[in-house]
Symmetry: C2
Subunit: 264 residues, 2 copies
């Protein structure tokens, strides 16, 4: 069943935040990520593929999977795909997925008593945010709080850089970090803020079983107001001449020590 | 002194690898990076700025610095700057810098007996390579070996993502890693290769005083041939559902444990 010109236009508009917000949909591109979407508990509303996808076994099985998951699977031309897709090297398949809202309260009230959350305080580069979600996924973080001034998780560049991470752990967007961190502390969470001038070397910390780790903006770091809510200010000691570390790298470095508590 | 149209064209061509290779020059953009270039032992050949740069004290002192360093400082129009510059949000100043060749032999024959090098085996994303150079700079790595199949260090996106790192430590490009790693091992280096299937958890390693740490391509990791030269295959244990970590993050995580040897 071919798409009308209007339908193609509507889909291509999902590359813009405004339209994603309005429709509560987002785009997922490429065999690997579409596969992740299909196997997650996100709802795949629609999928589009170009004929050449059927040339490979993986491509064919992706289309079969999609047809099981949704009745709206359309073959489109390369030209139409180009209009809809955001990537330069498009991979012949795009899924339209329903956005998911997670509850902040249920994230904070994690039942098993052990909960490590990560908060983004103004992380603005899509590549950084995506790679941080991917790292949170790798290191088994229980959930992510995206501050009001952080990049949108359904931005196609963020989605791509998560490498599927956004399908694996709850992410709450538009979080007012000041009030949320206060509430969390009252509920027994310890707040760890990364800060170039922090007094505790990351490698010396044993995290509390209820922890929130806060990472800041690429240029100015964590805001002063949020820093004031910190129980611990973490720093990564410098041995060379660089002025700072990339925030995605800093996040990975700090998360890599999370599990020592349980290992040793 | 205004630039001729031909001069503007020649400068704009430095955004292409072919022309960078031919002329052995590269572009550095923005107040911060240009400042780093001027204060490094790289040779600044020429600099261009738009009039609005003179509106700020930092901008004015940058122009003064440049005038001390080179006689070729030109004011250009915003339109000309746009043609020359690669960044979307250009910052009003660009320096043309001479590329620098470091000797592989002198890097390996580090005199003080203690030497930690990092090798890139096919790292292809400019943002990743740049952030890895930045991390190497932060953690005090002694030098970088860029394998034949890795992205070019003078690519503007790499330069930008290094945040000045490329001015702080020697980087050798076009390295044949197979022969170089063999030579290095014969000279007493231990080779540590990152490998998702590696048998040693990164956190358990104490690095040799002469070490080379190898990081691989975004999609397929370190090549099998290079893996065969490894003394140790390092892995970062996974606790969640992600398939892999971003290579820039993995690099930072592994480098963050380098100095434990000396600390504890």
């Amino acid at each position: 069943m071919a798409l009308t010109r209007r339908e193609v236009k509507e889909l291509s508009e999902l590359t813009q935040k405004k339209h994603r917000d309005e429709t509560q949909k987002f785009l997922v591109e490429g065999i690997r990520l579409v596969g992740e979407a299909v196997n997650s508990d996100f709802k795949v509303l629609e999928a589009l593929y170009t004929p050449d996808l059927l040339d490979t076994p993986t491509g064919r099985s992706t289309v079969q999977l999609l047809k099981k998951k949704t009745s709206q699977v359309h073959q489109v031309t390369a030209r139409e795909m180009e209009l809809i897709s955001e990537t330069v090297t498009f991979q012949g398949v795009v899924a339209v997925v329903k956005q998911k809202r997670f509850s902040l309260d249920s994230l904070l009230e994690n039942a098993n008593g052990q909960s490590v959350l990560v908060a983004f305080d103004g992380v603005s580069d899509p590549g950084n945010a995506g790679s941080m979600i991917r790292s949170c996924d790798w290191f088994g973080v229980d959930g992510i709080l995206m501050g009001l001034n952080s990049v949108e998780v359904y931005n196609p560049k963020v989605v791509r850089a998560t490498m599927g991470g956004l399908f694996h752990l709850p992410i709450v967007e538009g979080v007012d970090l000041l009030s949320t961190l206060s509430t969390a502390r009252a509920a027994g969470y310890k707040v760890y803020v990364t800060d170039v001038g922090g007094e505790v070397h990351f490698d010396r910390v044993r995290y509390d079983s209820k922890s929130i780790l806060v990472f800041g903006n690429e240029a100015w770091g964590v805001t002063d107001q949020v820093k004031q809510l910190a129980d611990v200010r973490l720093a990564i000691r410098r041995y060379g001449a660089a002025e700072s570390l990339n925030v995605g790298v800093a996040c990975g470095v700090i998360l890599s020590t999370l599990h020592r508590l349980y290992d040793e």
